[in-house]
Symmetry: C3
Subunit: 278 residues, 3 copies
């Protein structure tokens, strides 16, 4: 059975960068199965790369190797690592925070620093700027194909040493839930919070009922209204907001067939608070 | 011989949605061959999804399984179906009009409603919003790989019950052809009509001759001029309009190296009429 | 071992054109491995298509067949060719300048004109506008799969007859290097010159030192300043310009985490001069 390699980056698909990575991987092993997560991570947005790995990895077969290259520090002294997750997937990436969501929500069982003396595309030594091709795609392909074992990637490093971006958990106090905006569902303009279905259940919500929603950017109130809780967009009239549980079992806010994010100029990260009362 | 699965959606490629569908399909059968039609259908535009299936399906090998997810009614009571076409291809889709063009132009020989008790990604029951991943990709992959037969998809439903979008045929009366704008060739701004080469032949056109073209939006005249009939763009000077037979054997209007659609703000659908006189 | 086919075009991925090409290739041979270079070449920009082939081809396994369709002259009398490079790759393309960079920098060892009587998708004769699907994808797939040999593509043609776009080499005179802007790294706004690392070495540059850079558009001075020479973006403060050797061993200019190209409205081609003094 041939190995599976999945690539993610902020390179876009308009030039030859991703294609060169594909070529390098196939030159390692022509029988590899190659796929993309996305190459449209906004430039340098490590948080988004971290989030997308969490969103998709659980659906891929065990032993799939992910290569994620959002690397504003290429050429600096940031380390390159390969980690194994508790779900038996591998991720090849610069150690710059890309592993934050996997670390917090899925678990990493072992981490190794890439030995760039042994794991680098031959004759690529003079280029310092395209590690995605010369180190990450090359190493990911060799690991996915079985040419090297995880052990041969390089020396082990403590899991606690992996770089983490700041994250805040959602919480419930006195029947009020406070969470944060994890990411925007870009194409549709929906707001995805870090409030899990389980946490939300503490409010004993019922489909068809309404809840009071406040969105703050720091201290500034951006939105305050009651919103219907439904199973999906279609439960709200076209143009109306709806609260629902999204495809990764988190609470989300949408406008049926319009963009909530654009209408209220919503951003993401730990500074964007969502407060829910019944 | 491994099965072929082709995915279409309005999800875009900027987040993890399509990648999660790929992962689900490969977890069903790692030997599946996976490809995309497009994921850039404009959000909720069922007409475009229907059109793109007609445009591409005939070129794919028999028994290819298409999964098309443009699904503004996700979570409503719209049905999910799998159909077999007269060309021996399969389509897995919400029953919301996505099958209109195939029904009219290629023919559907059998339709089955997806039994979601049996054909749903295990442990995905709590999510009501990502049927593309949990039902359509999963069912398409199982069908393409031979794990289930078409019969095992679920109960048969009458072909006439399949939801159809309104369509109007082109026609010729007194040496005047009236047709409609089926779709725009987005990247180049060309107008693709529903006037077939055969119908057009009734005017006895000759390459190098000119025809009188009128474009109406409802009752309003948007364009009126004579246009050269050529084999392809290169037959017209740069910047000049040209009438030609496009890659699916329909009449089309372009400006050589410019966008006709943008220049005259052209739209699509049964309200946009194209009238041709010799 | 199944053949590898890599597609490039200016079609974009928003309609069904690329998918139809994939279908045609798989109908020729279901075991083919299909990949993309990019389909986002700006419409009709043959120079960019030529450049992208040079940028990526060397990383792909030998015998990979590339199909490149940027074809403003479709339907004119431009020829269709298949060439074999000195690196043992094949390119199927209209003969319109797409082979310029490969010709100059890698070398073409044999060229054949496609015999369209024998190498055309059956029953596609009536369409004159989609040679990408009907001739190039079809012929590329048959060559990659071994159904036809290179010899069976059609008659040999002299390598010197291949159409070339005008190019100017970079040069060094009296310790001043003059080069040209080959292409923009679109997503990041970096300037990629045609000045090789070897030529640049004549100035005896040192990492951490600065050089005087002038950019001219024809006779007009667009930019003039000294810029730090570093290993990569991270060597410059955020927002500062940096001179570096890019992933194809040419000299490039960037602003760390911003777009140099946008800030100074930079273009490409032999009219855009870059002058470097130590």
């Amino acid at each position: 059975m041939s190995g599976i390699l999945v690539l993610q980056s902020d390179f876009g698909l308009s030039d030859g960068a991703v294609s060169a990575m594909y070529g390098v991987a196939l030159a390692v092993d022509r029988s590899l199965s190659l796929f993309d997560l996305t190459h449209d991570i906004p430039p340098f947005q490590i948080w988004d790369a971290s989030y997308r790995l969490l969103q998709t990895m659980p659906y891929w077969p065990e032993e799939t190797v992910f290569v994620s290259v959002v690397d504003p520090g290429v050429g600096s002294d940031r380390k390159s690592v390969v980690v194994k997750t508790s779900t038996n997937h591998y991720v090849v990436t610069p150690d710059n925070g890309t592993l934050t969501h996997l670390y917090q929500h899925i678990g990493i069982v072992e981490a190794r620093i890439i030995d760039e003396e042994k794991n680098r595309l031959p004759h690529s030594g003079a280029s310092h700027t395209f590690h995605g091709r010369d180190i990450y795609a090359y190493t990911g392909a060799r690991l996915a194909s079985g040419i090297i074992t995880f052990y041969e990637v390089g020396p082990i490093t403590p899991i606690e040493a992996i770089i983490q971006l700041p994250m805040k958990d959602a919480y419930c106090e006195e029947k009020i839930i406070t969470g944060f905006i994890d990411i925007l569902d870009v194409r549709y303009g929906n707001i995805w919070t870090n409030i899990s279905r389980d946490l939300f259940q503490k409010l004993l919500p019922e489909y068809g009922g309404s809840l009071e929603i406040t969105i703050l950017n720091g201290a500034e109130e951006i939105y305050h209204s009651t919103i219907l809780f439904g199973r999906s967009f279609a439960d709200a009239p076209i143009g109306s907001p709806i609260l629902y549980v999204n495809s990764i079992d988190h609470l989300a806010i949408a406008i049926n067939q319009d963009s909530f994010a654009k209408q209220y100029e919503i951003g993401t990260g730990a500074n964007w608070k969502v407060i829910i009362k019944k």
